[in-house]
Amino acid sequence: MTRQTETPASPVAASRRISAESRRKALLISLQLGLVIAALLAWEFGARSGAISRFLFASPLMIWDVLVQRSGTGELLRDVRATSVETLLGYALGAIGGSVLGLGLWYSRFVSDFAAPFIAAVGSIPVLAVAPMTIIWFGTGLTAKVVIVAFSCVVVSLTTSYRGAMRTDPDFINLMRSFNAGRSAIFFKLIVPAAMPWVLQGLKLNVGFALIGAIVAEYISSDAGVGHMILLGSSNFSMNIVLAGILLVMVMMLVFNFCIGLLERAILRWERK
C-alpha cells in the first residue's frame, strides 16, 4: 500500500494570503475604532456646545465620571457582582440543566413526544410575564432572580440540544449497535458528542437571554445589580447613570460571550483541525 502524502500549498503563497487577510482585518478594526472615537468626540463636543441635550443624552465624560465615582465607593463592583452571580447561577441551572434534559429526552421517544406540547407552552411565556409572580413565590432575594434567569434560558437550551441529539445520523447508531453497544453507550459515546455543536449553539444564545433575565428580575425588585442601577438612574432622570449601566451590561455580555467562546474552542477542538 502506498502511503498518501498531503501536499500543502506552497508556503510562500500561503503566507502571502495570510498577510493580505491580516491587513484586511487591521483595516476593518481601525475603521471600526475610528467610527467609535469620532462618535464619542462628536457626542462630547455636541453636549458641551449645547447642540446635544445633556439632560436627555448625558455625555461620554459624564458617563465616565459615574463609573469612576461608583468604583470609588464600591457600588460598581457590588452591582456587577450581584448581576453576575444571578446570571451565572441562573445560567447554570437553566442553560446547562436544559441542555442535559434536552439530550436526555433522546432516551425516550415516548417521553419526548409527550413533553413536546408542554415544552412549547412554557417556551411561549415571556419572561416579563412570569417575573412578578416569581417574586411572590420566591421572595425578593437571590432565589427569585436565579429562577427568572433559569426560566429565560431553559427552553432554548432544551430544544436545541434535543434537536441536535435527534439529528444524529442513524448509520452511526447502527454502527454502535453492530458493536453491541447498549443504549447508554450509544448515548455517551455518540449522541452527546455528536450533539455538542447544537448544545453549544444553545449555550451561546442563552448568554444573552440570561443577562436579559437578570436585568428584568432586578427591575421587578432589587437592592443591587446593574439593572437596579439603571432603574434608579432613570427614576432620578440621571441619564449618565442609566447609560453607564447599559455600558456595563454590554461589557458583561462581551466577557460572558468570550468565556463561552473559549469553552466552545476547547470542546470543538476537532472541528478546527
Partner: protein, 259 residues
C-alpha cells in the same frame, strides 16, 4: 461443519406486507469459511436491504440468517463486522480512538485497546497518524481507518456494501489490493456487495448475480482467475477475466433494469 454464513428463504418487502413492494424474494445462499463472495446486481435490486438483514440491523419478513450454524436473524452478531461506503468515523475522535471504538464498547481496557490499535496502525503503515482527526485525512485513509476499526474487533466475517464506491480508480485498486492481502492473511470470510461487475470478478472466489423487482439471485459463478496474488492489476489482467465479466454482464444485461 456449518457454513460461515447461511441465508435461508430471506424475503422482505417495505410498507404494509400485502400490497407492499417486494424487495427481496426467497433468497437462499451460503458462504464458506475463508471465502470471498460478492453480490452483484443493478441499482435497487435490494443489495443494501440484504446487507441490513445479514448484519441483523433489520429483521426479514421471512427466512433466517445462520452464522456458524447459529440463528442470528434480526440481531447483531460479534462474529460479523462491516464497512460501508460512508466511513462513519467519529469526527471528534482521533484516528487511534476511532480504531478502538469497538474494543472500548466491548469493555476491553483502554490501555490494552490502544496498544493493539498501535500495532494495527503500524501494520497498515499508518503509524504517525494516531493523533490526527478524521477531518485531516484523505478519503482513502479514512476508509482504511474504518477497515482497521472493523478488523481490530476480529470478526470472522466482514461484510462490505459498496465500500470503495466513492474513491477514484487508482485509490480503489490500491485499497482493494490491500483488502485482499489483509483478509487472506487473517483468514477472514468476506461478503462484498457491489453493482460493479469488474470489482466483483477481480476480488471474489464466487459471485452471486441478482436481479431487481423483486430482488432474487439469478446466477452463481465460481471465479478462478488462476492466480493467488492479491494485486488487483495482476488479477484484472488474468486471461480468464473477460470470460467471467461477459458471463455476468449477460446475466445482468438481460435482466430488466431498475428505473
Amino acid at each position: 461443519m456449518a457454513h460461515a454464513l447461511e441465508a435461508v428463504g430471506i424475503t422482505k418487502s417495505y410498507g404494509a406486507s400485502p400490497g407492499g413492494v417486494a424487495v427481496l424474494r426467497d433468497l437462499s445462499f451460503h458462504i464458506n469459511r475463508n471465502e470471498f463472495v460478492s453480490f452483484v446486481g443493478p441499482s435497487g435490486c435490494g443489495k443494501s436491504t440484504l446487507f441490513n438483514i445479514i448484519t441483523g440491523l433489520m429483521p426479514p419478513d421471512m427466512g433466517r440468517i445462520l452464522i456458524d450454524g447459529e440463528d442470528t436473524t434480526g440481531r447483531v452478531s460479534p462474529r460479523l463486522g462491516y464497512v460501508l461506503q460512508k466511513d462513519l468515523l467519529f469526527p471528534w475522535r482521533t484516528v487511534l480512538d476511532n480504531v478502538i471504538l469497538g474494543l472500548e464498547i466491548r469493555g476491553i481496557p483502554r490501555r490494552e485497546a490502544r496498544e493493539r490499535a498501535h500495532e494495527v496502525l503500524k501494520s497498515y503503515h499508518m503509524d504517525g497518524y494516531e493523533a490526527k482527526f478524521p477531518g485531516q485525512l484523505s478519503g482513502g485513509m479514512r476508509q482504511r481507518v474504518a477497515l482497521m476499526r472493523t478488523m481490530i474487533t476480529d470478526p470472522e466475517i466482514i461484510l462490505m456494501d459498496e465500500s470503495y464506491k466513492a474513491l477514484d480508480y487508482p485509490l480503489k485498486i490500491a485499497l482493494e489490493s490491500e483488502l485482499l492481502d489483509v483478509v487472506k492473511k487473517a483468514g477472514k470470510t468476506v461478503i462484498f456487495i457491489t453493482h460493479d461487475i469488474e470489482e466483483a470478478v477481480t476480488l471474489s472466489d464466487r459471485v452471486y448475480v441478482m436481479k431487481a423487482r423483486p430482488g432474487e439471485i439469478i446466477h452463481e459463478i465460481d471465479i478462478d482467475l488462476g492466480t493467488d496474488s492479491p494485486s488487483i492489476p495482476e488479477r484484472r489482467m488474468s486471461p480468464h477475466f473477460n470470460t467471467y465479466y461477459e458471463m455476468i454482464w449477460k446475466k445482468i444485461g438481460i435482466a430488466p433494469m431498475a428505473a
